[in-house]
């Protein structure tokens, strides 16, 4: 009898372990994969009947191909971490989470969406359905090399001696000043990115697409001027040409000390902290300049579950997502492990690192609050994804002098028309 009980217990344990539901998750960034491994380890402690396989994919050279092929063949993973760039394409294949939010979190989907920053929640919905929950929130901002600014005697907003953002003319002056005072070859590093350029244009109150996804850039009288001013920064050797002509790493230029300013964003924080610790360099974050307005451009990524047809796995995946959707449970763990900014309104997080707390809660949060919703809506679509490479290539051609600013705006219009006509047929 005792042997029978022992055997049955062993069999039960075995089947219990063998029955551990295995969930696969596609992740597009190596750092994120690491954070997810830590976060899921915490989750598994409370839910030992689940196992996670975190699959990191190369973001720029394979993520979307792999995801597209998976969707096409039906071999989709259970969970996916997807950025604002790719969320629009993937959404329709994901499970509607709204009923579970109602059931497991005890609030209406509407209230849930309201608890999240508007610029983030626009990516999460499809009609009345909620397909994604937020992961990290990112926002653009200006990084500065503190010691270089001190040497040049320049004050910076908001924590460096002045509270108001610089005007555009002041900004251009400061770039020249800090370059001269520190005898560096350039002043500003600027990523070769259409999203980053979008931020610059948006500060002129110039939109590329409107909310209905029509191309409207050429309807603004100062569009060509804005483009030209940007290109001028290269011609005056304020921005290294190589950053936009040969993909030289803007990040490396700034953190290596070749430039004093870096128009980047909140995702550089842990890099900055590491370098500050190791080399004694000092970095800080500043507001973007005010041209006609000033704000950062939002980004980030989300978590969703694919419709796989496997009821058991779908249920477990949704359970995990619900844990991650609570800003005091999984989400908090995630933010702290990854040093990420929160996507929820009125959510102040103590990361335990004073410098990071300052950047997150005093600077980036302000840049994020001011971001108008159209900066998210006009990019959360397939047309912007297709325009992306064209936009930055046109600017690059402008920097080499092969096209004028007016021609750039015209060329963008014709590229848009081509993309639109293909998408509609």
């Amino acid at each position: 009898m005792r042997r029978l009980i022992l055997v049955s217990i062993l069999v039960l344990m075995f089947s219990f372990a063998a029955n551990a539901v295995k969930l696969s998750m596609y992740v597009g960034d190596e750092h994120m994969a690491k954070v997810m491994k830590e976060v899921t380890a915490v989750y598994v402690k409370e839910h030992p009947d689940v196992e996670f396989d975190i699959i990191a994919l190369p973001y720029y050279s394979g993520f979307m191909q792999k995801v597209s092929l998976s969707i096409m063949s039906g071999d989709v993973p259970d969970l996916i971490q997807v950025t604002t760039a790719y969320a629009p394409q993937v959404k329709e294949y994901l499970i509607n989470l709204a009923p579970y939010i109602e059931k497991d979190l005890g609030i209406t989907p509407k209230d849930y969406l309201n608890s999240i920053l508007d610029v983030t929640s626009v990516y999460m919905t499809q009609g009345d359905e909620i397909k994604l929950v937020p992961l990290e929130f990112t926002i653009t901002g200006i990084w500065i090399n503190k010691k270089m600014f001190e040497k040049a005697g320049i004050k910076y907003p908001p924590t460096g001696g002045r509270s108001d953002p610089w005007t555009w003319e002041e900004f251009k002056d400061i770039l020249a000043k800090v370059k001269k005072a520190n005898r560096i070859p350039y002043a500003l590093s600027y990523d070769y990115s259409a999203d980053r350029f979008f931020n610059y244009l948006a500060l002129w109150n110039i939109k590329v697409l409107d909310d209905d996804l029509n191309f409207v850039m050429d309807q603004y009288p100062d569009a060509a001027k804005a483009v030209e001013e940007f290109i001028n920064l290269f011609e005056k050797n304020l921005i290294p040409r190589a950053e936009w002509l040969s993909g030289q790493s803007a990040q490396q230029d700034f953190f290596g000390g070749r430039t004093a300013v870096y128009w980047s964003g909140s995702w550089q924080c842990d890099n900055a902290l590491d370098i500050m610790k190791e080399t004694g360099k000092e970095f800080d974050v500043a507001y973007v300049p005010m041209i006609k307005d000033w704000f950062g451009v939002p980004g980030g990524s989300f978590l969703g579950a694919f419709k796989t047809g496997n009821k058991e796995k779908e249920a477990e995946a949704i359970k995990f997502i619900m844990w991650m959707a609570q800003k005091d449970k999984g989400y908090l763990e995630f933010l702290k492990d990854g040093l990420y900014l929160t996507a929820y309104k009125n959510h102040v997080v103590d990361y335990g690192i004073p410098e990071f707390n300052k950047w997150a809660n005093e600077v980036f949060s302000k840049l994020g609050e001011r971001a108008p919703v159209w900066t998210a809506i006009t990019r959360a679509n397939v047309i912007w994804s297709k325009l992306y490479d064209v936009v930055r290539k046109q600017i690059a051609l402008g920097i080499t002098g092969e096209v004028t600013a007016e021609e750039i705006v015209k060329n963008l219009r014709s590229e848009y028309e081509k993309i639109k006509s293909e998408a509609s047929k």
């Binding site: 960034d29 190369p58 950025t83 290596g256």
Partner: protein, 266 residues
């Protein structure tokens, strides 16, 4: 002597990037960012190496890639030699056309074939399996073409006289052609191992399970969205080249002087 100095000079230029990357693999990220660039690390940092062993199952990826590379090489070499022989020394109708058709694939970019190739692999049930990395790669236009050109150099008289001596086609192939093909086999083995070892596209589209990852796939996933850990990537590459190098040195032994009384005077 002039020749030797020239070779050594060229070698320095050739190995400069490699030297640079090995040296970088021992730097910390801050030092990699730094300007002016330092040649040797001011402080040896094992961050890059620790990262790949700590955060990644390097040994698993190594095993997977070895499995694929070795088995694929054995099969590929055999198939290439046979196919090359048949296409060079065959007398069947349509031989020239088949030659040309099989060579067109030399010019196809792998990227665009990815989509239909994926569908074929899926239909054959080879998705998410290491065999899915081996079987689709067996036919290689470069390997086949190399074999064809090599076989063309084998004098027909040799084969004819064997036939007169009463040998059948199989015996001719195994007893005469194969031994004469040692340099070809060595070259094909080296090439095939290199190709399978460095393959990135096939693993990307075939493998869905991180336990089946190959070295190149793992290396490529190190490219993050925001930051690229250069020291880890260089550490990875430095280690990843070792098996290919070993195969190269091993198989060089087979580069014997041409058994057709070959060898140059210089």
């Amino acid at each position: 002597m002039i020749k030797k100095t020239f070779i050594i000079f060229l070698t320095v230029i050739y190995m400069l990037p490699v030297f640079w990357s090995v040296v970088s693999s021992f730097k910390s990220m801050s030092e990699i960012y730094n300007y002016p660039p330092t040649i040797f690390p001011s402080k040896i940092s094992l961050d890059g190496y620790l990262r790949i062993f700590k955060d990644y199952n390097f040994i698993t990826y190594l095993n997977n890639t070895l499995f694929v590379a070795v088995i694929a090489t054995v099969i590929t070499v055999l198939v290439c030699v046979m196919t090359g022989y048949g296409l060079a020394k065959g007398t069947f109708p349509g031989k020239q056309m088949l030659n040309n058709v099989m060579l067109t694939t030399l010019f196809i970019t792998a990227q665009i074939m990815m989509v239909p190739l994926f569908i074929v692999i899926k239909k054959l049930g080879l998705i998410n399996s290491l065999w899915g990395l081996i079987i689709p790669a067996i036919y290689t236009p470069t390997g086949t073409f190399t074999a064809i050109q090599y076989m063309k150099d084998i004098p027909n008289e040799l084969l004819e006289s064997a036939k007169i001596d009463g040998a059948n086609e199989w015996q001719i192939f195994w007893k005469i052609v194969m031994p004469l093909s040692k340099p070809l086999i060595a070259a094909l083995a080296i090439f095939s191992f290199t190709w399978r070892w460095n393959d990135f596209i096939l693993p990307l589209i075939v493998i869905n399970d991180s336990k089946l990852y190959t070295i190149q796939l793992a290396l490529s996933s190190l490219q993050g969205q925001y930051t690229i850990p250069w020291n880890a990537i260089m550490a990875f590459s430095t280690l990843a080249i070792i098996p290919t190098l070993i195969i190269f040195l091993l198989f060089q032994k087979l580069f014997m002087r041409g058994l057709m009384a070959g060898g140059l005077k210089y």
